[in-house]
């Protein structure tokens, strides 16, 4: 018994030893800073004042009463839903097309994946030029069709849509590749069996391919949600959160509060809200995912 316990202890110690470097790094760079952010969220402080004022949950109540925060939250949700609704089906469609083994597949694959390799800031700059109401390519093309293009980044109705379109362009190749990898892993035997059972292509796709692809879909859904909630670079470059907050996302709001207005407490509180929101969404997706994700 004693020997068995010792052995267990030894194994447990070995296990801890193996994860120790990772755990130490996580503690230093994630857990401690996150704990510090929780502490900061209870203060009214600009980081440099000698005295920080403890306000309890005051920053949180300020947040939920704040019109700008509500707008940032709503913009983030719109971007999130927009990205999921457009990126995932479109990525899947492209992946299915590329999986058919048509001519030029490799070229298409490279071209579609290209934007993902570009830094978001560079893409943002290019799209700012494309959207320019005076000389931008998009309005020029619309002009050929006698359509007067809008001021894409300068109007409240179009600015968020413009950011969404650019984001879809940037990430489409990434989701396409995830789905393509998933499709190429779908067992040919299953497809053959379905064909022998008399299933047509559509039935095979819906009842064999798609369930087999569910782990990829699930992964893409979670990543897409997180990515949407972290939207910052393109907003920083293309709109600066404007006009009048029309494209301010949660992360941009945090940046604005923290580093433009020096409200470190409010920015930290908003960061905590973002963390809780993402954790909740991911938990919800995992729970729901259990119902439809088919793990092999």
């Amino acid at each position: 018994m004693i020997i068995k316990n010792r052995l267990l202890l030894h194994n447990a110690l070995a296990g801890w030893l193996f994860i120790l470097p990772g755990l130490a790094a996580l503690t230093l760079f994630v857990f401690i800073p996150a704990g510090y952010v929780v502490f900061l969220s209870l203060l009214r402080w600009n980081l440099i004042d000698v005295n920080a004022q403890f306000v309890g949950l005051g920053n949180y109540s300020h947040l939920f009463a704040s019109q700008s925060f509500q707008q940032a939250l709503s913009n983030t949700l719109i971007l999130g839903v927009g990205q999921i609704v457009i990126l995932l089906p479109l990525g899947l469609l492209l992946a299915v097309l590329l999986d058919m083994g048509l001519r030029g597949t490799r070229i298409y694959r490279t071209v579609m994946f290209g934007p993902y390799v570009l830094p978001l800031v560079a893409s943002g700059l290019v799209w700012t030029l494309l959207y320019n109401p005076g000389f931008g390519l998009i309005n020029q093309v619309l002009g050929w069709a006698h359509i007067s293009g809008p001021d894409w980044l300068g109007s409240s109705g179009f600015a968020l849509l413009a950011v969404l379109i650019m984001t879809v362009w940037q990430y489409l190749g990434y989701y396409m590749l995830i789905f393509l990898g998933g499709l190429q892993n779908v067992s040919a035997v299953l497809k053959e069996a379905a064909a022998i059972d008399g299933a047509n292509d559509r039935q095979t796709f819906w009842h064999v391919t798609l369930p087999a692809l569910s782990p990829s879909l699930f992964f893409a859904l979670i990543i897409c949600t997180i990515q949407a909630f972290q939207t910052f670079d393109q907003v920083y470059v293309m709109t600066g959160g404007g006009p009048d907050g029309a494209t301010t996302t949660l992360v941009y709001y945090i940046f604005d509060e923290g580093f433009q207005m020096y409200n470190i407490g409010t920015a930290s509180a908003a960061s905590m809200v973002l963390l809780v929101l993402l954790a909740l969404l991911t938990w919800l997706q995992v729970r729901l995912g259990r119902r439809w994700v088919v793990e092999e």
Binding site: I48, S66, S155, M238, G240, P243, D244, F259, Y262
Partner: protein
Amino acid sequence: MVAKRLTKFSATVLALTALLAVDGAVQLPSAAAMKKSSKAPVQVSFWYGLGGQLGNDVQSMVARFNATHPGIHVTATYQGSYSGGGPEQQKLLAAIRAGDAPDVAQMEVHSMPVFAAAGRLLPLTHLMAASKSDKPGDFLTGMLVSTQYKGVYYGVPFNRSVPVLFYNKSMFAKAHIASPPATWAQVMVDAKKLTHGSGHSKVYGFEPLVDWWPWEASVWSGGGHILSKNLSQAQFATPAATRIISMEQTLLKQGYAVVQTGPQYWTETTQAFIHGQVAMDIDSIGDSGEVAKGVGKSFQWGTAMFPADVMRAVPPGGGDAVILAGTPAAQQKAAWTFIQWWTAAPQTIHWSEMTGYVPVQKSVLNIPSYKAYLHAHPQFATALAELKFQHAAPPSPQYLSVLQYVQNALQGVFDLRQPVASTMQNAAKQADSQLSGN
């Protein structure tokens, strides 16, 4: 072997000669200075926030200082834009918190209260009083409105500007308008006369700059106030404070004015004037170099003072030089030497002519070569005349936050054509919440 050494020696001498020839302004340290410098020079770190050509200009000035001050070595580092809340300030915030702040920094004029109120800047009043060239009375009238907090000087004018009206003289002549508008009422009349054409070739009479900086001028000029005297309440939504932006919006709605939207709005405003798409615009005198270069000989242009309404008032713009609190005594002394050198007449003139920022010392006005320069570049005479109308922005440590709300509201008014009164009232409500801490 000897020949090879000689060749090496000659090459070194040639390279050094070439280097000196490139920058004729570089002065060799005197023998006495060389002797003094047998000790290691005092190292001074200097953070600035001017990129591109302006950044090169800063570096060339610093190189001149280092070459003529063997006992001091200033290391100037670009830290991203110095604008209020810009990357340089963000890094400054982090560096102060980490206890690793630079000795000297360029500070946007509206940001002083945040850092001064926190006790992070070295008071300069006693140094200025004892200075041979940087006494408060040595600076051009109005220059020091942004450099003090609660009666104590914390900064010295560094790269300073004011907003002015740029106008296309050729278009004014065509429209038979003899002089640029001196008042907002006149802007309204002239903008209509100057607007012509349609579609892509339409030329607009006026182009406001959608930015809080000229907005400050519009609040004061209309007879309004930005914050209450005790700095606890926003007062910029009153009819007087919104009078001028209402006029600008009217021009916009009637099709006599145009605004630039998006994050590049400032650059695009300047570019629209350069390309003759607008007859008048509000811009910084600091951009006059870019305008001169961009316009070339395409048309005649000039500057006029920011139009007056009930009164004439403009905000200071640009940056001041500050010394960070906690800088060791030797570095403080060296940093102060550097700042005084920068503001002295020869340097402030050189800096102004090189960049478009205004010179800061009164003494420059008596220097014949600068008088000749002003004669050849009358746009700077406008800016210099305007300096005395500079008003201090409200010295609240919360002011940068207030300006963020204002900037959003201005985008609402100009980009989205929202009603002026309700939009500004909404911004004032947000500002009040910030000021009261609720």
